[in-house]
């Protein structure tokens, strides 16, 4: 077979049309793939949005809202008395003073002056410090 014949055969192969059903299948497959990718993208977007909303609602809300609700019953709330436990303290060594003790001042006795008058029933008493 000559080179020309070979080239002719190659050219014929180039000119041969591709089966239309093959091309249609490829096209349909591509569109399916694009659609599936789009769906995955929107699903991801929805998940991301939901996560953002969740964070916004639960993480950024003030803590008071999250606190336990107050009891609505009219009964008085009894709060148990808090008993303070005596704290254990480390033993303190008594300080030993070498200074001599001061003498305590004795309270002075009030001065009592008794003045007797001529009348035996009248006595004048003067009290002073």
């Amino acid at each position: 077979m000559s080179d020309d014949n070979l080239r002719e055969l190659f050219r014929e192969l180039r000119d041969e049309p591709v089966a239309a059903d093959s091309l249609a299948r490829v096209r349909a497959g591509v569109y399916r793939g694009i659609e599936a990718r789009r769906k995955r993208f929107f699903a991801f977007l929805a998940l991301a949005t939901a996560a953002m909303v969740f964070l916004a609602v639960f993480a950024l809300t003030p803590r008071q809202r999250l606190a336990a609700p107050r009891p609505t019953s009219p009964l008085p709330v009894t709060v148990p008395a808090i008993i303070e436990q005596p704290r254990e303290q480390a033993p303190v060594r008594p300080q030993i003073r070498s200074v001599a003790r001061r003498k305590k001042k004795q309270p002075e006795k009030p001065v009592l002056i008794r003045i007797e008058t001529d009348d035996p029933e009248v006595v004048i008493l003067l009290v002073g410090n």
Partner: protein, 153 residues
């Protein structure tokens, strides 16, 4: 896709020799184009990119398995019976011979001889030097000619 679909499909079919695999490769090629979202300066650069992706996908597949004997799939349905009989015999021999070539040589022949690309384009698509492409094509054509001569005898 309409503009390049036929060429990509034909190339994949000539390299792989299996219609189902060729459809898969063509589909994956266009999906990759969509995924990348690449903007091409010209139609020629888009075609080169598509060829490169398709040929690489084909070569990956041929590494994984041996090509089937389905290379004769791509037949023209519109050719008349008499002339088609003669042409088809030669074509079948050529396709069978093409199937026996190593995958890289087959890819080079398909791109250069069947798709009609220039040697530098083929070299760029295959990621090899132009000299390598020329050498591969030369070897491949020699093998094809020898095979066809043997069959004709």
């Amino acid at each position: 896709m309409r503009a390049h679909g036929t060429r990509i499909m034909r190339t994949a079919l000539r390299i792989l020799g299996n219609r189902a695999d060729a459809e898969d490769v063509a589909q994956e090629t266009f999906l990759r184009l969509h995924r990348r979202g690449i903007q091409f300066e010209s139609d020629a650069s888009l075609a080169a990119w598509l060829y490169r992706v398709a040929v690489n996908l084909c070569l990956d597949r041929t590494r994984a398995r041996k090509p089937s004997a389905e290379l004769r799939d791509l037949r023209s349905p519109g050719i008349s019976a008499e002339s088609a009989a003669i042409r088809q015999q030669s074509r079948d021999i050529l396709l069978a011979a093409l199937e026996e070539l190593p995958a890289r040589e087959r890819a080079a022949v398909v791109l250069r001889e069947i798709e009609g690309l220039e040697t530098p384009e083929v070299a760029e698509i295959l990621g090899v030097a132009e000299a390598t492409v020329r050498s591969q094509i030369s070897k491949a054509v020699s093998k094809l000619r020898a095979r066809l001569a043997r069959k004709e005898v």
